[in-house]
């Protein structure tokens, strides 16, 4: 039987309530803010000895000193003299604990006097109501970390039904940059989720948007772990290794030679795929890129017309057009606009099919601009390289690297991918049943006090309705108070790393005790405060370092490829499809063809992944007869014909 470490106390001025109680301990007791304790009542209620579980939320310490002045007088005003006093003053450690659970739960009474014990592993499970989902038959626990106090080392589980739905869903993590280890926490939690998500609940995958630096660029590479991390992995039943199935997606750079990602080292290109969209893909989300001034009702109507009636259709028999058009790319669209405007000007007409010429010019300008603003992502040729919607794999991570892109391109990528994920999940044909979408920097994408944007609307939509579809948002930000309330409010689970003092002073944290806030402001790396629907109070846990290479380490070990020539870019990318591709072959083609033609062929080859890359690639190029070297092929050299001499009387001869 464990020894009692404290006793419940209550006075008229500081009474116990059904939700809070006070207890004292010895001075050397291993109790602190966040410690879970158990109270054994002394008298039965309806035949049962009440048992109360609580978590320490406040601590007090004082002596029998009446005023500080007495201590000064005691030691002649010299602090060092205090060490010579024969006796130390009587001192108390008095704690306030918030009730986690009372057993029996009815009648709900104030916490009775009784002995206080440190909660053991089974107590922690009961106190946090984890027993309901860890029991045989339920087993939906996802380890989030380990709670430690004294000799107790207890795994804290989240309920998968409340993390990925359908009961509740979503997870939000807040904390200071660099110290809160937000990205590490998400990486760890994804590993834990993949290891423990019950097979009976179906498949699960994750799409992570890498929005800054190389944070998520090396998820498939092993990271440095210490022994204590391995112990935590073992305790929580998670394999301490990198993710086994990771695919990266990144648009091309503006030049189009290489991919616009920090994971551009040649050694890692095998699972990096281009992300390119054509006209059709972009037009559906034109709203993302065009501001409200751009898309008035008239412009909107024209864009709709183009999307519905022009794109991907044979457009002929129009009196203003000089020829037939089939618009499949931004290049085709530009040609269509040019032809149409020329026809209107020639006919001196002010409108075309009710659309005023000024509106047409405006829409042309804005749409043409998209391919410039999102160069590398949006192709003029219409080639599409996308996430594998429809064939997502179980326990796979799909990282979309948008870290180095312009804001417009980031928004477009986010909006389109999330929309597509949603569409597929609605149709149940994504390939997996549950999908986690991780978005960092939510302060930027879903701010609470900024004008409505398409991206924010999408995030709100996921937060409010995603759980019914299996679309779950894992989000992170530095300042929770500045994120839209409905986004964070709909997160069933919230994690907090080390917090900034100013942030903790905002009203959202007023439900926490001053001591809990202080602890939050001083959390070490690897510590988190967890709020979860089953936990009536926040719990502090420790989680292991993620077993994947950290962004900074990865950037040092796999430095980003420097700007490459077209030859090298083609060679590198085509070799990922066919290792037999030679540099000499690439060099020959580069000498013959235009840059844009080669890039288009390369993009097509990467999308199609043909069995014979060389043949496919060459088939996409216009036929050209390469220059034959003189005297080659065993032909005899032609006899040289001497130039005829000029007549002597040639008046133009010099």
């Amino acid at each position: 039987m464990m020894e009692a470490l404290g006793r419940v106390v209550a006075t008229e001025r500081k009474p116990n309530t059904p939700h809070e109680f006070h207890f004292w301990t010895s001075l050397d007791c291993p109790v602190g803010i966040g410690t879970i304790v158990r109270v054994e009542g002394a008298h039965p209620v309806e035949g049962k000895i009440p048992r109360i579980y609580g978590i320490v939320v406040e601590g007090f310490s004082y002596t029998d000193l009446q005023t500080p002045m007495h201590d000064v007088l005691s030691h002649d005003g010299r602090p060092s003299n205090a060490t010579f006093a024969s006796s130390e003053r009587a001192e108390i450690r008095l704690y306030t604990a918030a009730v986690l659970r009372q057993i029996p739960e009815e009648p709900l009474q104030p916490v009775p006097m009784g002995e206080v014990f440190l909660a053991e592993e089974a107590d922690v499970a009961t106190a946090l109501r984890m027993d309901s989902y860890l029991k045989d038959g339920a087993n939906t626990g996802i380890p989030v970390g380990v709670y430690r106090a004294g000799a107790t080392d207890s795994v804290i589980y989240l309920d998968a039904d409340f993390l990925l739905g359908p009961e509740a869903a979503h997870l939000n993590i807040s904390g200071m940059s660099g110290l809160a280890t937000k990205t590490s926490a998400v990486e760890w939690l994804l590993a834990s989720l993949f290891a423990h998500f019950p097979a009976s609940k179906g498949s699960v995958a994750a799409v992570c948007f890498n929005v800054k630096g190389p944070d998520l660029c090396f998820l498939d590479q092993p990271g440095k772990l210490e022994d204590r991390d391995r112990e935590l992995y073992e305790k929580m039943g998670v394999k301490p290794g990198p993710f086994e199935n990771v695919t990266y997606f990144a648009p091309y750079t503006a030049k189009g030679f290489g991919l616009n990602t920090l994971r551009s080292n040649e050694a890692l290109l095998h699972n990096v795929k281009p992300l390119t969209w054509g006209l059709r893909e972009v037009l559906q989300y034109a709203e993302v890129l065009l501001n409200k001034d751009d898309i008035d009702a008239k412009a909107d109507a024209l864009i709709d017309f183009i999307t519905e009636r022009v794109v991907d259709r044979r457009f002929d028999q129009d009196p203003y057009l000089s020829r037939e058009h089939t618009v499949q790319s931004f290049g085709d669209l530009e040609n269509w606009f040019k032809d149409l405007l020329r026809g209107l000007e020639k006919a001196n007409s002010e409108s075309w099919r009710t659309h005023h010429i000024a509106t047409i010019r405006k829409v042309r300008n804005r749409l043409s601009n998209i391919s410039t603003r999102c160069a590398g992502l949006v192709t003029d040729t219409g080639d599409v390289s996308d996430l594998p919607f429809g064939s997502f794999e179980d326990r796979a991570v799909y990282v979309v690297d948008v870290a180095t892109l312009e804001e417009d391109a980031q928004d477009l990528i986010f909006a389109r991918i999330v929309s597509k994920l949603r569409e597929h999940l609605e149709r149940r044909d994504l390939g997996v049943k549950h999908l986690v979408v991780f978005v960092d920097e939510l302060n930027k994408y879903a701010p609470g006090d900024a004008p409505e944007t398409y991206v924010r609307k999408m995030l709100l939509d996921i937060a409010e309705r995603g759980r019914y579809l299996g679309l779950v948002l894992f989000s992170a930000q530095q300042f929770r108070s500045q994120v839209h309330r409905r986004v964070v409010g709909n997160s069933g689970t919230a994690l907090y790393g080390r917090m900034d003092g100013d942030e903790l002073a905002t009203p959202g944290y007023s439900v926490l005790s001053p001591a809990t806030r202080t602890k939050l402001a001083t959390l070490e790396k690897g510590q988190l405060m967890v709020r979860h629907p089953h936990f009536t109070q926040p719990i502090f846990v420790r989680f292991p370092r993620p077993a994947v290479m950290q962004g900074r380490d990865g950037a040092e070990r796999f430095p980003q490829a420097s700007d490459v020539t077209l030859e090298h870019a083609l060679y590198r990318s085509l070799r990922t499809v066919d290792p037999a591709v030679s540099m000499a072959w690439v060099s020959t083609l580069v000498a013959l063809y235009d840059e844009s033609e080669l890039i288009a062929a390369r993009n097509a080859a990467l999308v199609s992944k043909p069995s014979n890359v060389r043949a496919f690639f060459e088939s996409r190029l216009r036929k050209k007869i390469p220059a034959q070297p003189a005297f080659s092929g065993g032909l005899a050299p032609r006899e040289s014909i001497p130039a005829r001499s000029l007549p002597d009387d040639d008046p133009y001869g010099l």
Binding site: L65, Q66, H75, F84, A85, S86, S87, E88, A90
Partner: protein, 342 residues
């Protein structure tokens, strides 16, 4: 005659109630035992108004055992700027006195007296587990003036007859103050007995030196033991008549007086001396002054050492107790402990 639900008759109550633990319970208990008595409301402070058991303030010529004149001796050592204490335990007693009932003008006093030893371990004071604290809860009643009472009460050892020739030298008059004085005297005696029992237990079971609050002359064992030192804070009797008085009031902090012999008529004789713990500047002449009692065969050097220990016990201050100038922190801690448990 029936009973109202939830109301217990006096006879039932006395049967069902255990021995009272509080003033309120004591009041109800007596109402059950002495149906003609009337409850008296009020706290223990009121009891002090009725009478005082203090002895008169007198000056006594000291019977010197050290040197030929009563003088001040500086006990401080230049090698030891900060004094260390060698006491390992502190003994003190408390009393809580209340007039709980009165019958025909006769006060019925209930007293809770207690005594405990606190030992010092790593500078922290803890209960002495070798001997549990003593707590006594008794009624002090002058049966002579109550008329016919239940003979069982008079024979109960928890009822002390304050007007019995066996317990008092002179039988007090019916004057309530005289009865109160008699009760107070008996209570103080009982308290001293509890304290001395603990001091004797200390002599038998512990090897350390015990700081006892009060005189040790009441115990032959304690007064002859080198393990118990009595420290008296009240000075109704000052052993400093004549020239000695000027020396005494002139003692400075860190000084002790010459040793003298204290030999009460009915008690054991001890060696005694005065120690000034704190400077008197701005205070009365008895500020910070205590009288120390020890076994008679004590050497002057040992008296110096014990004096230094007593001075060292002046830190930390025992404020907010009004006697903080003389009281060791260990004694205050013992009093607080007794208040908590009794």
């Amino acid at each position: 005659m029936g009973h109202r639900a939830g109301v217990i008759s006096s006879s039932d109550r006395s049967e069902k109630m255990g021995w009272p633990n509080s003033v309120h319970e004591a009041r109800r208990f007596i109402l059950g035992q002495l149906p003609g008595s009337a409850a008296v409301e009020g706290g223990s402070a009121d009891a002090e108004r009725y009478g005082r058991a203090d002895e008169p303030a007198v000056l006594v010529e000291p019977s010197l055992t050290e040197g030929k004149s009563f003088r001040a001796i500086d006990v401080r050592s230049p090698d030891e700027p900060w004094l260390q204490s060698g006491f390992s335990g502190f003994l003190d007693g408390t009393q809580q006195i209340s007039i709980v009932n009165q019958q025909k003008g006769v006060p019925i006093v209930w007293a809770k007296i207690s005594a405990a030893v606190r030992v010092r371990v790593d500078r922290r004071l803890l209960a002495w587990h070798a001997n549990a604290p003593s707590v006594s809860r008794r009624f002090y009643v002058p049966f002579r003036y109550l008329g016919a009472v239940d003979s069982g009460l008079a024979g109960d050892s928890r009822f002390v007859d304050t007007a019995s020739p066996k317990r008092t030298e002179t039988i007090p008059s019916r004057h309530p103050a005289a009865l109160m004085e008699a009760a107070l005297q008996l209570i103080q005696n009982d308290r001293e007995r509890l304290e001395l029992d603990l001091a004797e237990a200390w002599c038998a079971r512990d090897d350390g030196i015990l700081y006892m609050d009060g005189s040790i002359t009441g115990s032959t064992i304690a007064s002859s033991s080198k393990k118990v030192v009595g420290v008296i804070k009240t000075h109704r009797r000052l052993y400093a008549d004549g020239d000695a008085f000027q020396v005494l009031v002139g003692l400075r902090a860190g000084e002790r007086s010459s040793m003298f012999r204290v030999a009460p008529r009915t008690r054991s004789s001890v060696a005694s001396w005065y120690v000034r713990i704190r400077e008197t500047a701005g205070h009365d002449s008895l500020f910070g002054l205590v009288r120390v009692e020890s076994a008679e065969d004590i050497e002057p050097a040992r008296a110096d050492e014990i004096s230094r220990w007593i001075i060292a016990e002046g830190s930390p201050l025992s404020l907010p107790d009004g006697r903080w100038d003389k009281m060791a922190y260990g004694i205050r801690d013992t009093e607080e402990f007794l208040r908590a448990i009794s």
